[in-house]
Amino acid sequence: MSSASATLESPATSGPKPRTRSRRPRRSRGVWLGIVGVLIVLVGAETLSRTGIVNPDFLPPVTEMYATLFQMLGEGWFWESLWLTLRGWAVGLGAAMVLGVLAGFVIGSIPFLRAFTNSTIEFLRPIPSVALIPLVVLLWGTQPQSAFVLVVYAAFWQVLVQVLYGVADVDPVARDTARSYQFGPLRIARSVIYPTALPYIMTAFRLAAAVALILEITAELVIGVPGLGREIGIAQSSAAVPETYALVIVVGLIGVAVNLMARFAEKKMLWWHPSMRSEHS
């Protein structure tokens, strides 16, 4: 970022530096409490199952779930399913991001297009992508294309709408200031619009990443597209209860990893942004 953007952004009210000393012990306490919380849940679930308060046929002991999970780690089908799920997720998410950002920038920066497409976008966006399941089943059956279409449809709207908000959110005062300083359109785009829209794009990425994973797993589970979701369905219908839970845990951990990655990317890209800087308070 050039000095221009620094003058246009409101200065951070508090530098993070003086706080680090007081923050550190609190943070580590938070981490410890978090670990305690996880342990409480794990031990609680184990107890419920071992004592038979909850029928162990439905909720096997947590230790058994993890034993099954580690056993699965040594099996080829697990890694193949994992790869297929991750690939489907990444490809769909990538396509939705590219399409969404491009469409968002074009539509957002042309007022006529924005007004003209508004009603259509508002109409298409809430259409649940699962409504398309019967159609993609007819067209591609259990091929990965089925999942791809659902993922892209669901994630695209998340991205498009965020980018539209981002382009519209440009502070009029900042833009007028830049204009009165005789910034050219390119420089305005770089130092005013881009910094405003970027947080929205990163939010879009975070939302779309989660939605894409949901739809990828859904397609695998419901349609039978190869991947972890399908394995969950198979495990459940063959009454392999610990396997079902083990796979759900894996899928949950993937979800956590996706969220962490998206947040990490956000921090990396937006370290300069006030919303990130004030997060320390």
Partner: protein, 261 residues
């Protein structure tokens, strides 16, 4: 003047949809591809397929389950989220656990819940919807409560507002924008789960009947089902928006002033 404004508004509202519908109509007119019947065929099939009885037997139960599940999630999410948001210890304790549950894609709840309750009755479906909708509302409530202006809460304290009053007049209104954000995310997840929960287990309901059409190759009927689901999604989003604008009018006005518009 007003006439031109209205004409303009109508143009922007209906222009593109009309163009798209016309394109669909024309492009699909002589369609011989069985998967893509002409729009005319689909529209003709619509009233025949979705008769009053069918709507009553399929759509009403679906929407009722969605409504019950979503309401349970709203109540649970706000209560739990406020408690967690107000107590730093509770928050630290529950954060990683909540992160995990939020990250589990909600549709995989279906096989798990099917283990417990089977999947033929209402209960399993409602639980699926409620659990799927819970996390976004809960986590956004936590964020909203946590993000309250400290001056505001301190002022309320120094005026000796009782705990209940602080909760009702400071904490909940202050976090309501975030709560609505969560509820909006939850609503779309709820609609997805409403459909998915009906794909499992032989049952009545919108999702079930659409799959039935697809399996019996009743393609125009299947298309009407897709369109109906789309319309429901749009309608629910519109209702949500009306409620949100009414309840958050103060907030939107405030934002507008802050932005100097």
């Amino acid at each position: 003047m007003t006439v031109t404004t209205y004409a303009k508004k109508t143009f922007f509202l209906l222009g593109l949809p009309l163009i798209l519908l016309t394109l669909w109509w024309v492009a699909s007119a002589g369609s011989t591809n069985p998967f893509w019947p002409s729009l005319q065929t689909i529209l003709q099939a619509f009233p025949e397929t979705w008769t009053m009885e069918r709507l009553a037997s399929d759509m009403v139960p679906s929407l009722a389950r969605l409504g019950i599940g979503f309401s349970l999630a709203v109540v649970g999410g706000i209560v739990g989220g406020t408690a967690i948001g107000l107590s730093p210890t509770l928050r630290a304790l529950s954060e990683p656990v909540l992160e995990f549950f939020r990250a589990v894609p909600p549709p995989v709840l279906v096989p798990i819940i099917a283990l417990f309750a089977g999947y033929t009755g209402w209960l399993g479906k409602i639980v699926t919807i409620a659990l799927g909708c819970l996390w976004p509302i809960l986590l956004n409530t936590v964020e909203g409560v946590r993000g309250l202006e400290p001056t505001l809460t301190d002022t309320a304290k120094s005026y000796r507002l009782s705990w209940w009053r602080r909760l009702l007049f400071v904490v909940l209104p202050g976090s309501s924008p975030r709560i609505f954000t969560g509820a909006r995310q939850a609503l779309s997840i709820g609609v997805i789960l409403m459909v998915i929960s009906e794909l499992f287990g032989a049952n009545r309901g919108l999702g079930a009947s659409i799959v039935q059409f697809q399996r019996s190759f009743a393609i125009p009927q299947m298309w009407t089902g897709i369109i109906l689901l789309g319309l429901i999604g749009v309608l629910l989003a519109a209702i949500f928006k009306v409620v949100e604008t009414r309840m958050l009018a103060w907030y939107m006005g405030q934002r507008q002033i802050e932005r100097g518009e």
